[in-house]
Amino acid sequence: MTRGTADWGAMIRESGIAALVALVLALPLAGVRLSDGGGTGLELRPWWVVIAVAAVFAGRFVLGLWLGMRGRGGSGAVPWFDRAVTRMTPHKTLLLAVFFVAVAILPLTPLADRRTVDLTTLVMIYVMLGWGLNIVVGLAGLLDLGYVAFYAVGAYSYTLLAIHFDLGFWTCLPLAGAFAALFGVLLGFPVLRLRGDYLAIVTLGFGEMIRIILINWSSLTGGSEGITRIPAPSLFGLQFTANPGAGETAFHQFFGLGFAGIHKLMFLYYIILVLALITHLFSERIRRLPVGRAWEALREDEIASRALGLNPVMIKLSAFGLGAMFAGLAGSFFATRQGFINPSSFTFIESAIILSIVVLGGMGSQVGVICAAIVLILLPELARDFAEFRMLLFGGAMVLIMIWRPRGLLAHRAPSVRLGDRGSGAAQGGGP
């Protein structure tokens, strides 16, 4: 490679093109602003445009220099990351265990203020949703864009059961899961014959349908105002309230502590931790069972699966149902945590975020979902201070991940069973 003036010329040209694109984008985005004073006047901000264009030009130029120095680095892979992943992979279980223990003791450390506990709870809700959707998308290969519908079904079934039938959280939780699973199966039926894009469109429509029903069926769901005063869960009958009703005992009274709001947050934190842990253990286990392998086989090649006697109907429905069940469980947790729900919590963007978590994490990867959830949920929350640039950061992070890791952060797939692990003789049941 001879690197001479021609190279510089090319770099300047590319920077120029980038600057031109920036100019086109910056003119309407940064260059014009509705003036505040109540009128409809436009305020022109030429300097913003100049700054944006100059920044892009300089940035592209520096990027070009850097790439030039590294030598043409190929497809944009990150070698150190790949190496780290390869080295970590055998210790995946250990890593996950360490992660869970760390998360479990987090609220007991001095680090744990209200905000940390709250944020971690939020991330864990999405981790759980990601793991649930992973069953449908990652394992069974069914692109589901309406996953939030089952989240909504779970949230509303808990709320309605709790309010109208006066049932406790722990009774409603499995019921909400069952309802969501039922909805998953119901949705599954009409879309069995669809694949890929078509399936995505229909599931997207289903997600919107649920949301619109929730808005319009106001007699039951309270319409877009939603439902308030959703009861909070109790710990073996101990309430997390400052002044429990007659005949009830509050948590702080029972343990002789002063009342503190954070107790309830920590309790919720541990509930979602346990729920997420259950989701994880369940999906890791079921992946190694015949049904899990059947999901993957169906994802890989439906025709070959049929030829081996796999019933695609049952297999797809079981994936839809189980995936939806976890969304339902997460949904009822969400309802009890918020104490208030309305349909605007269950918009398409939620489905998109959950799907992004699965795709960015690497389809089928459990650890990947955690990483992606941290990036996609924590980052925007932490960046709340830069409110205007939040979505920009979000989009940028996604673009970068897709450039560096097109198959997701952790795309490694561990075989569900290995011949190598099972000595050579006859059955030595050592496997999982």
Binding site: I286, P290, E300, L308
Partner: protein, 302 residues
Amino acid sequence: MSVTAQDVPGGPGVTGADAPQGPMLTVEHLSMYFDGIVAVDDVSFGAERGRITGIIGPNGAGKTTVFNCITGFYRPSVGRIALDHEGGSFLLERMEGFRIARDAGVGRTFQNIRLFPRMTVLENLLVAQHTKLMRASAFSIAGLLGLKRFRDAEDAAVEVARGWLARLGLIPLADREAGTLAHGIQRKIEIARAMCSEPKLLCLDEPAAGLNPRESEELNRLLLGIRSDYGTGILLIEHDMSVVMKISDHVVVLDHGAKIAEGTPEAVRHDPAVIRAYLGEEEGLPEVVAGDIAADTKGEGS
């Protein structure tokens, strides 16, 4: 027409209920139309257990369509496809594809290999034993609880897979992703995968396509081994005359959707209709051509 001893099993009552003799698969008057185009036209033949039945014919003769009808991927327009074995009697033309594989015991492979590319070889062989394992795992409940009954069944399934891999000499590749392996190896694995589902009838769609002569020889040995060790009836579509002629016990020749000949490889090879179908209708050629085909298949066993 040189339709030999094994005549068309047409009449009623030919398929004895549980007699081990007589054809296991009986195809009668099978026709398949696609929007008025006749792909298969009134084809009848039989296939027996423990024997290799070859279906040959030029491109577009309707071989794969016949196959797809038998294995349930197409629903035939006209005709009856009956399968009789210890497991029961089935009318395949009325069954859904996966039931034909699961209940009637018909295994198949595909012309362009269809392994599960991102799963390991061992997993591919375990998916083939899904029905058995699913039952043992009590629809995943016993499996989730890790009960011994399921673990034993899974160990047994792994041993079945190990047996096949050992037979093919592929044990070292067991934990590799199937999609990364060489074409010839994938072919063998696909056959092993079909055999892991313990079929009574194994349908192979051009198994020798894309194999080099050595691999093709290995394939022949594998199929002869399956026939003698498992008594599986094998139905084989092949383009390449040399393969079919060497290992088939019985050959059915299709051309333009119709059966033009049937019989032993020897009889079919000298059948003028077959020669015409393969090489056109030029006058005076048949003798020379017959010689060519014979030369092509020299070294034929038995």
